[in-house]
Amino acid sequence: MFEKSLTDLIQGLRANKRNEADYIQKSLEEIQSEVQQSDMYCKSTAIDKLNYLHMLGYDTNWANFNAVEVMASPRFGEKRKGYLAAAQSFHQETDVLMLATNLIRKDLASSNAMEVSVALDGLAQVATPELATDLFDDVAAVLGHSRPFIRKKALVCLYRLVLKHPEGLHALAPQLRERLDDPDPSVVSSAVSVICELARTNPHNYLPLAPRLYQLMNSSTNNWMLIKIVKLFASLTPIEPRLAKKLHGPLSQLICSTSAMSLLYECIHTAVVGDIIGVPLPVTDSVGREIDFAELCARKLVLFYESADHNLRYVGLVTLAQLQARRPELVVNQYETVLKCLDDPDLSIRMRALSVISGMATRRTLDRTVKRLMSQLILSNTIRLQPVASLPSVGTTEYSCKYNGDAADSDLIALATDATGASLVSARGSIVQSRQLTAAGPGPADSPEYRLLVVEAIVDMCTRQSYANLSNFEWYVAVLVDLVYSAGVDVGQLLSEKLLDVTVRVRQVREFSVRLMRQMLSDSQLASRAISGSSAAKVLCTAAYILGEYCSLLPANSEDIALLLPKCLDKLDGEQQATFIQAAIKAYTNWLRDVAGYWSTEIWELVRAVTASTMSQLSDLLLAKTDDNALSGNSAVAELPLQVSSRLRHFVEITKAVSVATSNPSESAPQLCLELHELFTAYELNPVSVAAQGKVPQPDGLDLDSPIGGPIPDTEHIMFPPPPPVSSEPRQRASQSGSGRKQRRGQKNEPFYLDGGDDVRHSHSLAELPDVDDIPVVQLDLGGQGSENATKTRSKKKKTRTKDGAAKRERRRRVQTPSPPLAPVDIAGDEDMPDVSAPLPQPQSQQTSPAQQ
């Protein structure tokens, strides 16, 4: 039969590009039949084709057993195909692996070195814990093989096995030591690699090897091995400080002399991470001068991130970040260079530079850094820029515009970078469009992770060590407001927290802050974005709070009240609405108090007008929800949240009181207007630390462990007879404390106390239930009329229900409530009650048990 070989399969695939799936289906079916055949050659070709298809993404696990068969073939080529299939598609859970154990063992012991090598390759890939345990010794035996490449492979394979079978480490460690002295350099190199990997998790074991490794480092010229050795030392030096001193010399030599960038990088990295730069010995650099080792490293690092090659830049920045964590003073003078790296088109480089820069923030550099980052955020494609008509045309993004108080009230303020770095002013929804912005595709600044990092970095730099770096708090508040507009990611929570934090803590900036908040609240674009849960909503909520709390700092304005009851209020969630309303109350009372200072008839009319409009707004809000109630008929959903409705009603009462007080024009302001604001100014709110509660001293004589009241009196004997005391006695005796025993007894007998392990109650069978005869029954006398009515209604309603149903119900009820003959109880209209005039049968257990089913 003509089977397709691998080449044919591939050629066929390429020829059938259009109906690839069908072709592959057909081939899979062919392969299925081929693997069943007994001819080994056929099978192995089939497995070969399967390998290829596996690479294309098709599942080939159904042929696992056949793959193992092929692995057992005596011919090398076929064996290899089988092992390859195993390596590619076997998982840890593949059950046919157990069949392969003996097979691999045979191969490992084979005289043909190639077979050994292919077996080692395969084993390294598919090692499971069982295989590892079984084959460990076999592989260890191979370590003494004559061919060096077998030794090398065996070493690495053993490493893999040890990962699955940790007990083998004892046997492995001395072997590793021997192999370090092996004459063949590649074996030594593998041994070093393995030690390097193992030392990462457990460095103590390999410390004794350090002298030999040191020798190797000094004598070898193989860069790969040197890199591994240096990396190894990085994991050893933290546990052995003297090692650092010894390494100091050779490492600096390497740094000065090597031309391989990778080795240089590894050496510097080790020096930084392993804290070898902490050693205070000077070294001689390439020119022969004596400098500090750390300085040498820093200088060499400059080569990296100033190079044009992006790879070097990236690794340089990574190491710089590490260096900064340990020796910040060395890094500080690199500010300019790193700032340039911030604009790199590569996102990973930018992120690294960002982390370095934010660590470098000081008073002097904060300004420029933040400006650069903000311009990155704004000039990206995420923010849609609109041309602003009222501003003079600008050719570049930089022009000077210093902030002053008047400009805050003007309609639009542009983002500007001042040449003297004085201040950054806040922008509104529209931002000046830079002519230089080309219509480029999305750049790295558009990635949301990057933007989030940038915002967090800006905030972190400014608030570090309680604002140690800030010299101008107004500028900081303006930056935060700008970030609200330009962030493009969901950082509303963070920004609102920071705004609140700085406004509350720093008294001087409150006025500026309130002004900006007022601006933000009157921005209709921002309000339109404020739906519940969005970041704009959170920020606006905080803005409302700040405006309400500190509105007394600004000349009072009746429009504040309108601002704080915006149209979008019903789109926010309950908490936020409540904040808005509370702030509106504060603003209202503040305005009243202010206006009361210069009372006149016009003022009186103004007060009445404002009060009336506010009241109408509030009643709208209150009714809006209740209207929806009526319309949708679903009262559970559309009801006002509790905190909102309560505050609304407070506000309504306050306005009612004011309108009553101002019902007649008066000479001077009513006392009410002057004093209402006292509601909110009695105490100043200060920030409270998280640990404050813990510092409150416990009052003397407070014992939290003693029970509050006496034990609950045993009243159960009125309701139920006491339970059989048989099983409860040991439990009572076992308990220690007197009060505990009493409590427990009381609890046990309490009718609704659910105790999982206590089966006193379960031992009650139905027959032992308290006799219902003992339940006191009260006679209700409703007069003779009731019985007549009842019979009439009964006869009427009998037509609507079947006789059987009523009879069943009666039977059920009779059985369930085996009651003594009750006094005639006639409740009009309720014909479901059993006919109690006839005597009922007494309760019997046979009748009760079937009913309980």
Partner: protein, 143 residues
């Protein structure tokens, strides 16, 4: 240590894959697609050859229409692995004589053999080109 090695062409087809860590089949598919997305969209001239990927790094290099990607741990020396990729490609080149993508497709098991000689269990174990080529000659003589 190397987590996995992928050789993909520009359309995202995998020409070679070698996994040195445990990944289930669905994970492998997802990873392959993600790697392709990440690597194919990068600009050679302005961007470095190292990408952060989940919590590892991908070191990749583009040769003609093929991307050779090594996924390594974060504390590994990326420059060294970059050189490793180059060594691998050089060996393939000397073995096939001016290797092109078709060679890799038709002789994929040989490519795996070369890879196994160079890298075992996630570590580079042989860095001498002559030694690897010598061994490959031995292997082919056995076939």
């Amino acid at each position: 240590m190397i987590r996995f090695i992928l050789v993909q062409n520009r359309q995202g087809k995998t020409r070679l894959e070698k996994w040195y860590s445990q990944y289930s089949n669905q994970e492998r598919h997802k990873l392959k697609a993600e790697v392709h997305r990440t690597v194919a969209s990068r600009d050679q001239k302005h961007q470095s050859n190292f990408v952060e990927f989940h919590n590892h790094r991908i070191v990749y290099r583009r040769y003609a229409g093929l991307f050779f990607c090594f996924c390594i741990d974060t504390n590994d020396n990326e420059l060294a692995y970059l050189e490793g990729i180059h060594l691998f490609v050089e060996v393939l080149d000397s073995y096939h004589g001016n290797v092109c993508e078709l060679d890799l497709v038709f002789n994929f098991y040989l490519v795996y053999a070369v890879l196994d000689e160079m890298i075992l269990a996630g570590e580079i174990q042989e860095t001498s080109r002559s030694v690897i080529l010598g061994r490959l000659d031995q292997l082919s003589s056995l076939e």
